[in-house]
C-alpha cells in the first residue's frame, strides 16, 4: 500500500547514511576516523589470516554497537552482497591456481581440487569483505559528510606548505556535495514535468535500457540548469570575496581529546595484533588443531 512514487528522489534526504545518535563514536574527531578507516582497510588486505580477520571483525562489531545505531541497518546491505560473495568464494575454493600445491588435499575429483589452503582463501575473501563493509558502515553512520570533508581538509592542510591545494580541493568536493540536493530537486521537477506530458518513466520494471533511454531528454536541460546554478554560486562566492585558499582564516576547528587518542591506540593495537597473528601463522596451528579434533 505504501507505494513509493517513481519520483521521490529524496532531495531533502541527507547524503550517505549519516544517522545522528550522539554516541561516543559520533563525537570522535573525523580525522581519527579517517585514519582508523584507512588502517582497517590496509590491515584487512595485508593480514591474510582468518584469525586476524576475526579479530578485526570483533572490533568492528564492537565499534558498531558503540555507535548506538541499529545493527540490522549495517547488516542489511550485506544480505544482498553475501549471496554473490558466497558464489565467488566457492569459485575461488575450487579453482585456485595450482601453483600453491602445499596444504593438505581434502578433496580431489578430476579437475576440481580442494585443499586446506583454497578453503582458507575462500573463507578469507568473505570475511575480509564483511569487515570492510561493516567498518565503512560504522564510519558513515557516525560521520556527516560535512565532518568528513573538514577531516580531509584538515589532514591535507599541512601539505599546503608544499603547494598542494588542499583548500581548493576540499571546497570543490564540498560544493559538489552542496549541489546534490539541488540537482536532485531539479531532476525530480524535470521528470515530473515531462511525465505530466506523457513521458513514461516508471512502468517497464525490467526494461533497464528503455528506462535509460527515457532519461535522456532529462540530461540536456539538467546540464543547462546545472550550469546556471554553477554560475549563480560563483557569483555569490565572488560577492563574498572568495579568491582561493590563500590568506583565509578558519571557522571550523577540529579538536582531538582523550577519547580520540584512546580510539587511535585501540585501533593500532587491534591492527598490530591482527598482523602479528598473520606473521606468526596462527592459522596453521588452529587449522591443524581443528583437523585433529575432526579426526577423533
Amino acid at each position: 500500500m505504501r507505494e513509493r512514487s517513481e519520483f521521490e528522489l529524496f532531495s531533502k534526504l541527507s547524503i550517505g547514511q549519516y544517522i545522528p545518535t550522539g554516541s561516543v563514536i559520533h563525537r570522535l574527531d573525523p580525522r581519527i576516523k579517517l585514519i582508523l578507516g584507512i588502517l582497517l582497510i590496509a590491515t584487512a588486505v595485508l593480514a591474510g589470516s582468518v584469525v586476524a580477520i576475526l579479530i578485526l571483525l570483533s572490533s568492528v562489531i564492537l565499534g558498531l554497537c558503540l555507535t548506538r545505531v541499529q545493527l540490522r541497518l549495517a547488516f542489511t546491505p550485506l544480505k544482498f552482497m553475501l549471496f554473490f560473495l558466497f558464489i565467488l568464494a566457492v569459485i575461488q575454493v575450487f579453482t585456485i591456481p595450482q601453483y600453491r600445491t602445499d596444504g593438505t588435499v581434502l578433496l580431489h575429483r578430476g579437475v576440481v581440487k580442494v585443499t586446506t589452503l583454497s578453503l582458507l582463501s575462500g573463507t578469507l575473501l568473505i570475511f575480509r569483505f564483511v569487515v570492510i563493509v561493516l567498518g565503512l558502515s560504522m564510519f558513515s553512520f557516525s560521520t556527516s559528510t560535512t565532518e568528513l570533508l573538514h577531516g580531509i581538509e584538515h589532514l591535507l592542510r599541512p601539505l599546503e606548505r608544499i603547494g598542494f591545494p588542499a583548500h581548493e580541493l576540499a571546497l570543490t568536493v564540498h560544493i559538489s556535495i552542496r549541489f546534490l540536493p539541488i540537482l536532485a530537486g531539479e531532476a525530480e521537477q524535470l521528470m515530473k514535468a515531462q511525465a505530466s506530458r506523457g513521458a513514461d518513466f516508471g512502468y517497464s520494471k525490467w526494461n533497464f535500457f528503455r528506462k535509460i533511454r527515457k532519461m535522456l531528454p532529462l540530461l540536456l536541460p539538467l546540464f543547462i540548469v546545472s550550469l546556471k546554478h554553477a554560475q549563480h554560486m560563483a557569483r555569490a562566492m565572488e560577492s563574498r570575496c572568495y579568491t582561493g585558499g590563500a590568506g583565509r582564516s578558519h571557522f571550523v576547528h577540529l579538536h582531538t581529546g582523550p577519547s580520540d587518542y584512546s580510539a587511535l591506540l585501540f585501533g593500532c593495537a587491534v591492527s598490530a595484533s591482527a598482523l602479528l597473528v598473520y606473521y606468526l601463522a596462527v592459522d596453521e596451528a588452529v587449522g591443524r588443531l581443528l583437523l585433529n579434533i575432526l579426526r577423533m
Binding site: K12, S196, R197, P217, P221
Partner: protein, 288 residues
C-alpha cells in the same frame, strides 16, 4: 429535478506522508476531500508547506495515493497501472516557473512533446501545436525559434502551450503568474479565461496571489498544514478575513480594507472581494 453531477476530479480521504518510514517523514496531506466539476475554476490557497504542491501532483497521478483515492473521469488513480498516462491527457499540470523545464532546442518541438508522447500522427501533432500556440498568443512561426531566445513571458506561454496541446479537460496550475510583470500577468489570465470559456473544461489554480484567485475562481479550498481548513465559494471563504490573516494567508486588498474598517466600527459587509465592491461599500457608508 437537479441532475446528479459527477465531478471531473474527485479526491476522497487522500493522505500522504512524505518520506514515509524514515526519520524525516512528514504528513503532508491528511484526509483531503475535494471535487472539481466541469465548467468551474477551483482555487487552492495555503501558506508555504501546507501541502498545495503535493495535492496538485496527486490530481494527475504524479503521486500515487498512499491512503484514500483520486478519481479522474471514473478512472481511479490508486488502481491504475499503465492507464495513468491516459489520466495525464485528461488533466494537464503546469508547474511553477515552468520555463525552467523547457528542454527542446526549438520552441515548436517542446510544444510537440506531449502530443508525440500520445502517439498521434504527424499531421495531428502539427495541428495541435499550431492550435496551442495560437491559443497562447504565440505565432506559429515561433516554432522554429530557439527556446532559449524567448522572453520570460513567451517561455511561460510556450510551456502552457505544451500542456494545452494535449487537449486536457482539466488544467491544473501552480502559481501561474509568479514572476510575471503586470502585462504578462494580464495576458496569461486572459488566455486562461479564453481556454475555459467553452464551458466543458475545468481549472484548478493554486496561488499566493489573491487577486488571481478572486479573478478566476468560483470556489476555493484553504489548505492548512495538510488539511482542508475551509472550503466554499470564493466570496464565502474570503469573508473569514480574521481567520485567514491569523493563519498567515493573504487576502484580497478589498477584503482587507473592509476588515480594518470593520475594526474601526464601520458596519461593512464581510463579502467584499473586488476593488469596485469595496468602493461601493465605502460609498454606501458615506451615504448612510
Amino acid at each position: 429535478m437537479i441532475p446528479f453531477k459527477t465531478p471531473l476530479i474527485g479526491v476522497k480521504r487522500l493522505s500522504h506522508t512524505y518520506l514515509a518510514g524514515t526519520d524525516l517523514s512528514v504528513d503532508s496531506l491528511k484526509n483531503i476531500d475535494l471535487e472539481v466539476f466541469r465548467g468551474e475554476t477551483v482555487g487552492i490557497i495555503g501558506p508555504a508547506g501546507s501541502g498545495k504542491s503535493t495535492l496538485l501532483q496527486h490530481l494527475n497521478g504524479l503521486l500515487r495515493p498512499q491512503r484514500g483515492d483520486v478519481w479522474v473521469k471514473d478512472i481511479s488513480i490508486l488502481h491504475s497501472g499503465e492507464e495513468i498516462r491516459t489520466v495525464r491527457t485528461h488533466v494537464g499540470l503546469l508547474f511553477q516557473n515552468p520555463e525552467n523545464q523547457l528542454f527542446e532546442q526549438f520552441a515548436g518541438d517542446d510544444v510537440a512533446f506531449g502530443p508525440r508522447n500520445m502517439g498521434l500522427s504527424t499531421e495531428e501533432v502539427r495541428r495541435r501545436v499550431k492550435n496551442a500556440m495560437e491559443m497562447v498568443g504565440l505565432p506559429f512561426s515561433y516554432k522554429d525559434r530557439l527556446t532559449a531566445h524567448l522572453s520570460l513571458g513567451e517561455k511561460r506561454r510556450l510551456a502552457l502551450a505544451g500542456v494545452l496541446a494535449m487537449d486536457p479537460e482539466v488544467l491544473v496550475l501552480d502559481e501561474p503568474t509568479a514572476s510575471l510583470d503586470p502585462d504578462g500577468r494580464r495576458r496569461l489570465l486572459h488566455i486562461l479565461s479564453g481556454w475555459k470559456s467553452s464551458g466543458t473544461k475545468a481549472m484548478v489554480i493554486a496561488s499566493h496571489n489573491m487577486d488571481d484567485i478572486v479573478e478566476t475562481s468560483d470556489r476555493v479550498y484553504v489548505l492548512l498544514r495538510g488539511k482542508i481548513a475551509l472550503a466554499g465559494t470564493t466570496r464565502q471563504v474570503f469573508s473569514g478575513v480574521d481567520f485567514l490573516l491569523h493563519n498567515d494567508l493573504a487576502v484580497p486588498v478589498a477584503s482587507e480594507l473592509m476588515h480594518y474598517l470593520r475594526k474601526r466600527g464601520f458596519p461593512v459587509s464581510s463579502e467584499v472581494l473586488t476593488d469596485r465592491e469595496a468602493a461601493q461599500e465605502v460609498r454606501g457608508l458615506y451615504d448612510a
